[in-house]
């Protein structure tokens, strides 16, 4: 099962991930993303993968466990 990993030093809180997969990502008021659920449901993996790849600063990874 793949797992979502955020590089908090790189994240700028631009929010594309939240736009693409609202059940998994939420930008916080201080400008960093919070991962709501690290383990995407099997049906959501493609949506989460698209969200990860949409990051403008490449701060997200989907790591195969």
């Amino acid at each position: 099962m793949p797992r979502i990993v955020v590089d908090e030093h790189t994240c700028e809180g631009l929010g594309m991930c939240e736009a693409m997969a609202v059940d998994y990502f939420e930008v916080q008021p201080e400008g960093l993303v919070r991962v709501l659920d690290e383990q995407p449901e099997p049906d959501d993996v493609e949506e989460v993968r698209a969200a990860v790849e949409s990051c403008p600063v490449m701060a997200l990874k989907l790591v195969e466990a």
Binding site: G13, L14, G15, M16, E18, A19, V22, E26, V27, Q28, P29, G31, S54, P56, M58
Partner: protein, 428 residues
């Protein structure tokens, strides 16, 4: 005429920046095993452009923008036939070949992603100290001048120019921004938000000259015998001394190489006219990124209502979709997309989702220093602009994407506290 080849074996992508890279990546991820050729005019691996006017200009930032994917990775992992430092010079859609000078590159499927080039100031050619910010080399030159303490004049109060002004003020350097219009960025954000942006500039001591034009450049003979900029003459007769002039007056689609291709180019700016699936009108040919004009179903009022965006997210999204469509890897779908961009001004994060061509604009943040403006067309919310509200902006983007009623945006903002946006100032 069918839009894609029945059995494409060879994908050619012209343009090796974000849109072109995403095209190549999407083709491989979706299982395309044929040949992939990626052509890029700049002789370096695809790199990220937003940092060119942000981190690369910061005192503590990197001097080079991040590489999006290395040459090694493109060749070894994605099996790409990479042609860097090669500018496309022509396209023959009958013979299905792209011309790289004398060389002909045959394609079954083609993605056009050559982007845009910065518009320049007439008469500034060859004058040292005058720059646009489009490439890594441009940004490096501007960074060096700022680090050396240049007195800076920015021509054009757009996003690039404002980010350059921010970098200058962060160093305590004097900076003048010259803008022809009475309100900055009026087409991109509307008059109401433009007035907010004026305040951002002036609050930190940027000398913003609105309704002002450039009459000419003053030059001196530089140490190497070159003509070097020394000042900018304005149309009001004043001259602003300058060691660095950054021209940020927009970009034009880089489609000169398509002039004789038979593809439809938009009379307004030379962008490639596409249908809603990004098909450019010739078999197997799709377009993506800064040069693609398409009817975005979320906003178009009619088929001729074409949108062209120069945003990072659009280039990424369109590049992938254009390749998938060109290769017939999925049933062609219209691209319904909510524009999104961000810009960093004087330590503030500006974000806009949707479009600003509205029937009504409401300022939804009375009494705060973090503006939030909402844009209504008919009974829908079609856009939102925020400053320093990173946790909120994507919630509005979802409303815009869902064609949500205006009331939903008002509810999200906390209705009752709303007031019409202040009228923009007349003149400066």
């Amino acid at each position: 005429m069918s839009a894609s080849h029945p059995d494409p074996r060879r994908l050619v992508v012209v343009g090796a920046s974000l849109a072109g890279l995403r095209a190549v990546e999407a083709a491989r991820r979706r299982g395309f095993t044929g040949e992939v050729v990626l052509v890029g005019a700049e002789d370096r691996a695809p790199y990220d452009r937003p940092p060119l006017s942000k981190a690369v200009l910061a005192t503590d930032g990197p001097r080079e923008p991040p590489t999006l994917r290395t040459v090694l990775s493109l060749r070894a992992e994605l099996g790409v036939d990479l042609r860097l430092g090669a500018a496309a010079t022509g396209l023959d859609t009958e013979a299905r070949v792209v011309l790289l000078g004398e060389e002909e590159v045959r394609y079954d499927a083609l993605v056009i992603a050559t982007g845009a080039v910065a518009r320049t100031l007439p008469g500034s050619e060859g004058i040292a100290g005058v720059h646009t910010v489009r490439t890594a080399a441009d940004a490096a030159a501007v960074r060096s001048a700022l680090d050396a303490g240049a007195r800076t004049v920015v021509v054009g109060a757009g996003f690039i120019g404002s980010e350059v002004a921010s970098a200058a003020r962060a160093r305590g350097l004097p900076v003048t921004v010259v803008e022809a219009a009475d309100v900055p960025l009026i087409r991109a954000v509307g008059a109401e938000a433009g007035a907010v942006l004026v305040d951002l500039h002036r609050a930190v001591g940027t000398d913003l000259r609105l309704g002002a034009g450039v009459a000419g450049l003053e030059t001196v003979r530089g140490a190497g015998g070159e003509d070097r900029v020394a000042g900018v003459r304005l149309t009001d007769g004043t001259t602003v001394p300058a060691d660095l002039v950054v021209v940020g007056i927009g970009a034009a689609p880089a489609t000169g190489w398509l002039r004789d291709s038979g593809l439809a180019l938009h009379p307004r700016d030379g962008g490639v006219v596409c249908d809603a699936t990004l098909w450019a009108g010739a078999p197997g040919v799709y377009a993506a990124g800064d040069l693609a004009c398409w009817p975005n179903p979320l906003f178009a009022r009619h088929d001729e209502d074409l949108m062209r965006l120069e945003h990072w997210t659009s280039a990424a999204e369109q590049g992938a979709l254009a390749a998938v469509h060109a290769l017939g890897l999925a049933e062609p779908q219209p691209l319904a997309s909510v524009p999104y961009f961000w810009s960093d001004w004087y330590g503030h994060r500006l974000q806009l989702v949707g479009v600003a061509a509205a029937d009504e604009v409401l300022r939804a943040d009375p009494g705060t220093e973090r503006p939030l403006l909402l844009y209504r067309r008919d009974d829908r919310v079609i856009g939102a602009l925020s400053i320093d509200r990173p946790a909120e902006i994507m919630k509005y983007r979802r409303l815009v994407a869902a064609r949500a009623p205006w009331e939903d945006a008002l509810d999200l903002a906390g209705a009752g506290a709303l007031q019409p946006a202040a009228a923009p100032p007349s003149g400066s």
